[in-house]
Symmetry: C2
Subunit: 326 residues, 2 copies
C-alpha cells in the first residue's frame, strides 16, 4: 500500500481504520509495502478489473453519511463486476481527503466497508492516500470469472430479450427529494432517500453469465445504459407497461407529484442489471433469478430500427444519458 | 473502461487520446466495456499491484508541461513496480480533469504516455474519467514477478549492505529552483529543473531481485525512505562521503548556493532504488548493474542501534520524511 507513513495521522488512518480491511491476506503485506501481490491461483478463472470514482458535489453531498459513501463506492464497482459475470475478489482504495475528515468519519466509513466486504467476500488489497480540497473516493475492483467466458456489453442478436433486474427509478426520486426539487410524505421521502443513499448491486450477473449475451449495470438511467449497449448498431423496443416499478413508485406517479415516468427512465443510478439474452435462455434465467429471490422482468426486445422505441406514447423529447462527467 | 460516453468531448478523449494506449490488447474491449480482463497467463509468474496519485499544487504545478505530468505518474508507479522486482504489465488511469484541460494538453499528455509504454512495454488496460476543480492523475500499475519471489520492504539482517542507484538530490534542487527559493546559472537551473520535471524509474530492480533482501524506490528522500525500511527495528550507518552526487551537485554544494547536503538527503523524489542485501551478493549486484550501465553505490550497512547514523558530522537536527500527505 502506497501510504505516506511518516505522519502520525496517516499511520493512524492505516493502522486503525484500513488494516482491518485486508482480512490478513498475505499478499497485502499488511500494508507495509508500496505494492501488493494479487494472489490469484485458479487456472480455470481469469481476473476482471474495473475502476470507478465518486466525488463530493457530483456523486454525493458533502455532509452525506460516510456509510452512504462507502455503500456507493462499493456498489458502483461491484455492479460492474457482477455485470461482467464475475465474483468480487479484492480491491484497491484511493482516498483524497479534505481537512474536515475526522476519526468519526473514518470509523463509520471503514466499518461499512468491512460489512460489505464480509457480505460479498472480498478484501482490501492496498491503496493510496492523498490530501485534497474535495473528498474523492476511488476504487479499483478485481473479480474472478471462468476463463472461457467472454461477455461484451454490446454483442447480441436481433429479437434478443431485454430484461432488467429490480425496480427502476427509486434512486432518482430520492435524489430529487434531497435536492428539494420535490417532496412527498415524510415516510415516502425517507424511503426514497434511502434508496438513493444506500444502493445495492445485483449479484445475479455471475449466476446467469453462461446464458446471456450482454449485461450492463444501470448507472446512467435505463435508457442511457441501453443506448450504450445498442452502440448505434441496433434498436430496442420497450413495453412501457412492463417496466418494473415498485408499488410506492407507481403510487406517486399516479398522484402526479411532479414525478414523470420519463424522468425516471432517463437518469439515475439504480444499479440493477440490463440483460440481453436469447429467447431460448429466458426460462433458465427466470428460474435462476427465482431461486435467488431476485426480480427479473422482460421489458422488450432488440430490433433492427436504431434507437429506443416505446410501444406507447412517452414524452421523452431529448433522450439523453445522465452524465457524471459533464 | 468506465467512461461516461454520452458526451462528445468525453467520447473524443477516449477515442482520440486514450484508445491508442491500449495497444489493441483484447482484454481492454477497446474501452467499450465498463470493465476489462487482465490477460495474464504465465503460471510461473504472479501479479503485483501498486497505485499512486499525483495532484496539482502538491506533486506538480498547475502550468507544468503535460509531458512532465505523464512522466511523473508513470515514474512514481513504475519505480514501485521495479522496487518489487517486477516488470510492468499494464495499468489503469483515473483522470480528474478541470475545465482548462484542452485537446492540446491531452495530445501532449497521451503521446508521452505512449512513448513511455513503448519504452518499458506495457499497455493501458482501462480507467475512469471524472470532472474536478483540480487536476489529479491517478494510476494503478500491474507488474509480473516470479511466483516464488517474495520481497518485503523491511526484511533484512544485521550488517547487510545498503546501496543506492543513481544520484541523490537533483530533483530536490530543481524543485527549489522552480519554487524560486534558490537560483544558479541558467544552464544549471535548466539541468536541475529537468531532473525534477522528468524523473525516470530505475529498472535494475527486476534484474537483481534474486540477490536482494529488500528494495524501495526513493520517493520521500533517501533518509525518509530508509527510515520506512528500517521500520523501527534496525538502524543504518551511512558513509557520508559515499553518498552518490552528480558532478554538478558537488559543484553547487561547494559553492554554498544555499543548498546543503542535509536538505538533499532529507527530501525529494529521486526514484532511484534503495537496496538492502547480503554482503555475499554484493559482487553479483554490481556486475548486473555494470552490464546494464546503471550506477550503484554502497553507502552503508544495517546496524543494531536504531535510527540513521552518519560516519561524519551532518547538520540534520530533525530527520523527517518529505510528506506528500500532510
Amino acid at each position: 500500500m502506497k501510504l505516506l507513513k511518516s505522519n502520525l495521522s496517516e499511520k493512524l488512518i492505516i493502522n486503525k481504520y484500513l488494516k482491518k480491511l485486508n482480512f490478513k491476506n498475505k499478499g497485502t503485506f499488511d500494508f507495509e509495502n508500496d505494492g501488493a501481490y494479487l494472489d490469484f491461483n485458479n487456472k480455470n478463472y481469469k481476473l476482471t478489473v474495473t475502476t470507478d470514482s465518486i466525488s463530493e458535489n457530483i456523486d454525493f453531498f458533502s455532509n452525506d453519511d460516510p456509510k452512504s459513501i462507502a455503500q456507493k463506492i462499493t456498489t458502483v464497482n461491484l455492479s460492474d463486476i457482477f455485470a461482467m459475470g464475475a465474483l468480487p475478489h479484492s480491491y484497491l482504495l484511493n482516498l483524497y481527503l479534505p481537512n474536515h475528515i475526522n476519526e468519526n468519519w473514518l470509523n463509520l466509513f471503514s466499518n461499512q466497508l468491512k460489512k460489505i466486504q464480509n457480505k460479498y467476500g472480498f478484501y482490501l488489497l492496498g491503496g493510496d492516500l492523498s490530501k485534497s480540497n474535495k473528498l474523492i473516493v476511488s476504487a479499483t475492483f478485481f473479480g474472478s470469472i471462468k476463463k472461457k467466458l467472454e461477455l461484451f456489453q454490446n454483442k447480441f442478436d436481433l429479437n434478443d430479450d431485454i430484461l432488467v433486474t429490480g425496480n427502476i427509478g427509486e434512486s432518482k426520486i430520492g435524489l430529487e427529494i434531497l435536492k428539494k426539487n420535490n417532496s412527498l410524505s415524510i415516510n415516502l421521502n425517507q424511503y426514497f432517500i434511502k434508496k438513493y443513499l444506500y444502493p445495492t448491486p445485483c449479484k445475479l450477473g455471475p449466476l446467469i453469465a453462461n446464458y446471456v449475451n450482454s449485461m450492463k449495470d444501470i448507472s446512467d438511467g435505463l435508457i442511457g445504459d441501453l443506448i450504450d449497449m445498442l452502440n448505434d448498431k441496433y434498436g430496442a423496443l420497450i413495453n412501457v407497461n412492463k417496466i418494473p416499478l415498485s408499488v410506492k413508485t407507481k403510487k406517486i406517479l399516479n398522484n402526479k407529484n411532479n414525478f414523470r415516468l420519463e424522468d425516471l427512465l432517463n437518469a439515475g443510478d439504480d444499479y440493477g442489471l440490463i440483460i440481453i439474452s436469447s429467447k431460448k435462455n429466458r426460462n433458465k434465467i427466470f428460474n435462476i433469478a427465482n431461486k435467488n429471490n431476485i426480480n427479473v422482468t422482460l421489458i422488450g426486445k432488440i430490433i433492427s430500427e436504431k434507437g429506443i422505441h416505446f410501444d406507447s406514447h412517452l414524452n421523452i423529447k431529448n433522450i439523453k444519458k445522465f452524465d457524471h462527467f459533464f
